[in-house]
Every structure is written in C-alpha cells, then in structure tokens.
Chain length 346, copies 2
Amino acid sequence: MDELTIKDIARKCGVGISTVSRAINNHPDISPETRKMVMEVIKETGFIPNNSARNLKRVDAKCIAVLIKGITNPFFGPAIQIIEKQAQKKKYALVIQHVDAYGNELEVALHLVKEKRLRGIIFLGGSYQHDPVQIAKLKVPFVFCTIGKVKDTEEKVYSNIAVDDRAESCKMTNYLLDLGHKRIAIITEGTGAESVGQLRLEGYKDALTARGIEIDEKLIYEVKDVEDPYSMESGYALAKKLLDSGVDFTAVFAIADFLAVGACRALHEAGKRIPEDVSVAGYDGLDIGEYYTPQLTTIRQPMEAMAERTAQLLLDIIDGKSKHEYISFPAELVERESTAKLGNQD
Amino acid sequence: MDELTIKDIARKCGVGISTVSRAINNHPDISPETRKMVMEVIKETGFIPNNSARNLKRVDAKCIAVLIKGITNPFFGPAIQIIEKQAQKKKYALVIQHVDAYGNELEVALHLVKEKRLRGIIFLGGSYQHDPVQIAKLKVPFVFCTIGKVKDTEEKVYSNIAVDDRAESCKMTNYLLDLGHKRIAIITEGTGAESVGQLRLEGYKDALTARGIEIDEKLIYEVKDVEDPYSMESGYALAKKLLDSGVDFTAVFAIADFLAVGACRALHEAGKRIPEDVSVAGYDGLDIGEYYTPQLTTIRQPMEAMAERTAQLLLDIIDGKSKHEYISFPAELVERESTAKLGNQD
DNA sequence: TTGTAGGCGTTATCAG
DNA sequence: CTGATAACGCCTACAA
C-alpha cells in the first residue's frame, strides 16, 4: 500500500489497466461514464501516475523545455512567464531547468531530452559558442534566446533570437562619447571568451576606435571567478578597484544593470556624485534601473517580445511550419538620470 | 540509430548489458579493465543513460529535492548554493524545482517523489499552512525552510527552520516606534491567509498594540493579485496609493526589501526625502538593501546558516540520526541609512 | 567476474 | 468501447 499504481486503480474500479490509462490521458475511445468513474476513484485515492514510467513509454509527449542560465537571474523572469503562456496555448507541457553560471547547458539539454521526451528546447542566456559535436547530438529543434553572436552557416541547425549586443554596446558607448566623455571605464564580464560580456566589450572598443580614441586597458575591468558574475557585489568590487587605481575617468559603462548598481554604490561611497561627477550606464533594462536612485541609463532589451517570438518560432518549427532563423531584435537606449553631459551636468 | 541504449553499448563492447550497467553505476564487482573499456566506448559514442528508466527501477537513488517558491527569487540564491554543497558532500543528487507564487508546492512535491525516487525534500519559502491530507501523503522526510508559523503537534511529521517572522516584524516596528514614529504605514503581502506577509503584519500590530497605539487600517496596504507579490513594482504602486490617500504618516515598513525599494522610489518622486521626511524599513536582508541609496534598514535573516542547518537536518533525518525539529533562528536588525529619528533626522 | 532473465509502471497495439 | 499483452530502457537477482 506504499505506492499506488495504475494496477491498484484498475482493480478498485473493476476495469482493465488500459481503461484507466485511457481515462488519465483523455483518450477518445472510452465511455464517459467509465471515465468519470475511474477519475473519481483516482481523485479519492490521490493516485499520481509515475512520470518516469510515462516518459519511458510515451512517444508523443507534447513537451518542451526552457534552460535558464543562472540559478536566479531576475532578467529572465518575465521571459519565462511568457514562454509558459505560449506553451499552454498550444497545450505543451513546459519543464523549466536552471543551469548554473558555469555549467554546460548543452550537456544538460542532452540529458533532459533523454529523460523526458522533449519536442524542443529554449535556451535563455548562456554561451554562444558550443561544441559542434554536442550541437549535432541534439536532435530536437532548439532556439537560443538572448544569446549574441552566431556563426552564419549555410544550413541553420538551430535558431537564435537576440539583440545585437556588439552594436548596442557600441551605441551606448557612442551615447557617452556624445555627452563629451572620453575617459570611459567599462565593467564587463570575462568568465569565458564566449559570453555576451565579450561582445559588449567589443562594441565598446568599436565605438572608441571609430572616434580615434585609443583603448586604455587600465579602463577595462572584468569580473572573473565568482559564482555570479552579474552581481552588484562584483560591480561594487570592480568600481572600487577602478577608484583605487587612481586612473582618470568621467564615465562608467557597466555591461549589466546589476553591475551598474554596484558601481554606483562604490562611487557614492567615494563621494562622487552621479551624474554630476561621473556618469554611469547599465545594460539590460532590469526593473531595478527604474527604481534605483539615480535611475539608470541603460540599454533595454525587449525581453517580452523576444520571449514571445522565441516560443512561437520553436513551436512553429516543431510543427514543421517554419525553418530555423536568426532574428535580431532592436534594443532601446533609455536615457535616465545616471548620465549627463560632461562639464555641464544635469 | 536514433537513440542509443545500454544494449547498443553492450553490443559494441562485446559484453553483457549488466556489465555496462555496473560500469556506469560504479559497482564493485567488475574488473577495472572491463570498466575502463566500457567507459571509453560510452564516452566515444556519447551515450547518456535514460533517467526515466533508471528512476523507474532504482530503489536506492541518493537524491533529494529543493522546491523553491517563486520563479526567480534572489532571496534564495545563496541558500541553494549551500544546500547544493551539503548534498554533494554526502553524495546526494539534488533536484531543484521552482514553484510559481500561486502554485501548490506540496502538490509538486508529491509528483516529484513519484517521478524521481526522492529520499527527502526541502521547501524554500511558500505557505506555512498545508492540507493535512497532502502532508500525510508525503511519505519522505521534508523540512520547511524560511517558513514561519507551524502548528506544534505532539508528533512532529516534518521539520521547520525559520526566523520568528512575527517577533522580528514586531522588533522592527518597535525600532521605528523608538525612533519616535507613531504613524507607521505597512506594505505587506496578502496573497493568502497563510503567508509570511500575514505573520509580519501581525507582528506590526503586536508592537502597536503593546504601546497602546490604535491600529489604523488606512495605514495597511496589501499586495494582491499580482504575479510577483514581492516586486519593486508592487511596492511602488502601494506607496503611491498611500501618498495619494493623503493620510498622515512618517514611516513606512515594507515587509520585503523589494517592496521597500519600490516604496522609496515612489516617495522620492513625491519629493519626500528619506529618511529626513519619511523613514523606510525593509525586511529580508537582500543585497540590494546594501547597494541602494539610501541603504535600507532591514531585518536580515541568516539565510546561509539556515540553509546549512536545513540541509544537515534533512540528511540526518534520512540517515535516521535525527528526529524532526522546529528550529527558530534569530534575525538581525540592520540599521542603515533609510531610517532616522522623527523630527531630528540623520 | 560476467551474462541472462525478469520486472519497475506506463502506454500502445492488438484482439475481442 | 474494453481488456490482455508486449514493449519502453534500465537495474538486479541469480545463475554461470
């Protein structure tokens, strides 16, 4: 009596096992009364079908997964909600899995596909560079969302939906340059050569180079070897380093809003006013940027729209109604309180 | 050739199925050379055992789960890391599952126990009131972490590790009272009668009542019917309502740091200085409270210590080395910049 | 040390 | 419409 199985239910109902199965799975060929009776007993006894057994046998589970990089990244919160809704609308089950910052999401995906019978996968965040061997092994359609660069091969084997991180980063840097800043420090993330942090750093360099400003390595700070590379703590620590270095700067571009917040605190503690003494810019468009004082100038990624498109695209591909695509979304530079013209502030 | 199974590996190696299984599962009775050979083939072919099949058969999987209330609650980030480490130390696999704010975590737990063969469960956040029928159905040991009230029955069927929300909330209210505030607005969460929001509200009332101050319902604001009840957005909206109501107040106690941040913004926009015009207090001890300007006075829960104790307790109970316990952790009132004496500020 | 056979709980495929 | 029965992929006695 420890674990209830479908057999017990069948016996209790005085019907065959398959009848119970049919009732559970909303199969058409079963009489309404029988179904009702069976369902009643199931409710009474609190029977829960064993998912492992189902996954093992089932071939056509309508199920997709979303793998999220980072245990607890608020950036993806709204995206998940939206994907959930889209999946529901098409009657797909959705499994949500977090992958920690230094984990290999493709690896996790491979395992998950074996365990559940996934029809498709969405990757939220993470690396844009993956082992082609692993990519080849992943037989179900998948789409990366929010993940920058992508090698444009002739035959697309996956989809990608993202903002052009390099260009947007360049845009923000140009914005700061237009405000008159020349000594712009950047706080970026350097966990690996294949993360958005690198793309955003490149965009920064692009902008400076285009204006003929030499890139000063003393103004580049990279988060490394920490559990959460996009934390306020990291931003704070690096901004402190920057301040301590004594190097001259009038603006800080943090490639994530959280980093920007941390940087703001460090600057504040050092007696710098924002934006009067130093301008600070972020990236992502998190809520906190709106509620922080000063409100953060940032690059807002259209997360909702991207998530919706991602889910639709994946579902369409599964249905054979679409091929893989690389889609670039425009981001918006949101001017707020944390940046100002050099020498003529606010 | 679509899906590799243990049989294929066995054939490729020219050994029996069970030999492969033994190699995979680190069984003792297998010759080192055979194991090595098998493992090599597995690596080459990229074979991944089907987890569903394993779960179905296995009885002694060393696996526990942690269920987290809220899709993306940064509050639990550090806790998860710690639990992960403790589990690893004891060679337990850890399944991490998020339950959305309005989902039933016990329900999810029941399903998970069936699917994987869990030895125990940790609940992070969520309701403290559960259907006794469901509780009874959950046959594996489980411990609630961070979840306030608990009915003290003679025979404990689960464990609970938490701060005394009611008392701590009372402490914070008293602190504000001691600063001279009498008109203290509270922003709390009212999603259900069984959440920590209610406990904290009670603590607030306790403090006022003890001082003979009448409770003014016009000062009580509850978040309701939103996807994320602990958001800055909610705090902002309620603080705005409070301001618009024209009711008199000199302090705001938000029962979560995020709510406090939102409230701060609303006050700031209304031209109120913090803490000169209005004191604001939070609860939880999130990072943001430290980096926000002004830094938030808050109740810091010892999340790390609680998480560690939680994991240890659960593992001990599983090993039969301990019985269920209700453990209360002390929280710390952290005085920072957002609160000040009434009429004699900062 | 290794291989064979049976079964975990379900669903799919058949006959009735 | 319903009920047996054979898989699903793996683990585990048990036999060799």
